[in-house]
Symmetry: C2
Amino acid sequence: MIDYRSLEIFYWVARLGGFRRAAVRLCTTQPAVSARILQLEHMLKARLIERERRHPITLTRKGAELLIYAERMLRLQSEMMAAMNGSPVYEGIVRIGVADTIVHTWLPELVRRLRMDYPNITLEVSVDVSPVLKELLSSGDIDLALMVGPIDLPKVRNIPLRTTEIAWVVAPEYPVSGTPVRLSDIAAHPILTFSRTTEPYQKVMSVLAASDLSVRMFPNSSLSSIIRMTIDGVGIAALPAVAVAREVASGQLRRLETDIALPPITFTASFIEAPDTALVTMIATLAAEIADAPAMQAKVA
Amino acid sequence: MIDYRSLEIFYWVARLGGFRRAAVRLCTTQPAVSARILQLEHMLKARLIERERRHPITLTRKGAELLIYAERMLRLQSEMMAAMNGSPVYEGIVRIGVADTIVHTWLPELVRRLRMDYPNITLEVSVDVSPVLKELLSSGDIDLALMVGPIDLPKVRNIPLRTTEIAWVVAPEYPVSGTPVRLSDIAAHPILTFSRTTEPYQKVMSVLAASDLSVRMFPNSSLSSIIRMTIDGVGIAALPAVAVAREVASGQLRRLETDIALPPITFTASFIEAPDTALVTMIATLAAEIADAPAMQAKVA
DNA sequence: AGAGGTTACGGGCAGCGTAAGGATC
DNA sequence: GATCCTTACGCTGCCCGTAACCTCT
């Protein structure tokens, strides 16, 4: 008989397009995945997967046929677990990728709530900039990404968290002319923001490019480092307003009043849709709830 | 996660109403079944089965709920196997209960065909009279019964094999008066037939009772023994015509011409309907085909 | 005493992880 | 050389079967 585990592994190999990725996603090793697939192929006496050297692998006809059943089986299994336990079993390991901004605002609250309400969930948090998180998610290295912007791929579910504008902030004593500050005033100073691939960087660059201004950018992937440097008077920072709300409130940073039209950025909780995402969905929903909670709004506003 | 095997075991415990029966049906031991159920109950943190001392056990509410999923899961699994292999995997152990009459007519042909076409099937044949076979089937001790008459229980599938009349046969020299022989002529002699619980016995008894005749019956559960004794002139045998066709053809026995209205008896291939009966169904169908084959008809006619 | 389920215990084997081995770009 | 899958191998843990035990009729 065909094991549930084998189908699960087969499903993720097909889904993520590689043995390695499936292994990472399922928290196991590549040989284990390999053995399962081989066993499956041996049992069904048919090759299921065309091993090509480049991502993604392709399924044979038989493989595609099996995938349908694998998906149905996983779905039935999780439906059963949900029905039997009243609610799905919220336990296991979840790997979350989080953008720095979220780490500094409401991630602690999410972690606290999870530890309190679901002590059997083990979290593995990786912090990185959103473009990297997108890669990690689509290669199966993380299960859930809390970051900027939706991922526009099929089968990825994006739960919008909250939208925030980009604020220009400086050290209180830092000299900036103009009220409101114009773009050219800002461009005279070094601008600190996230790394080149991120939305804040690109949005800043696009308005500057439109105005034909040149500028010294200080891209930096660490939010706390950017904040530190800004407080130390290195330049003007362009950061999500929520990320610096505390420092602005405490007077460590001063928010510039400008009329520069920077489009706001939207955070999302994104994850790959699969038959067994009850756990991840729950966490994403909880994240949305916490991110939008009045308490949080007040705390960071 | 819940194993396929656990669901299968749970299904059969529920279906057959006991741990022991399920163990027999699944070719395993009672402790193994017990352990699986215990593990399942532990995993779902709920009692699934009320252990009562008498058959059948009853399911708790949770147990009944799980049974639905177990059945769906088994069904999906066998649907998948069927779809993937083109045809279901015809291999494994099948326990067949066979009535003596069939053993002496076309069972060898069935066994030969199975051994030839499906060498991976292991047969375990038990021979007994039909009422006993019915018990064995409903308690899960056999998977398929080839015997007299349908089993009128829900979830039992009966495939009609062929109908045969009951013949009165005697040794060639045995003195019987009358042509055609009347019932009272027969009642003067000892009558050999199957044991008390069987259809031939009961049918003979009912016509005799209707005529208010008393008679000496020699019930015997072994067909070959009955034939032997009849050839030796012990009395008149009432047996399915097909069972003595060979002896009549070879002249070892003589068939009496009578006008006694004995209702014919019907053989069936009967088995319990379950989500995974592809193998048993195939054998039952093959049995029907062989039993009704012209070659067989000729051979026994 | 017998039927039916549980507990105890030892052995076998499946499946996993580590590490080394191709193959292809 | 880098990436990706496969093979080799030792180990762990699960699951099964045997046997003894419990409990109710």
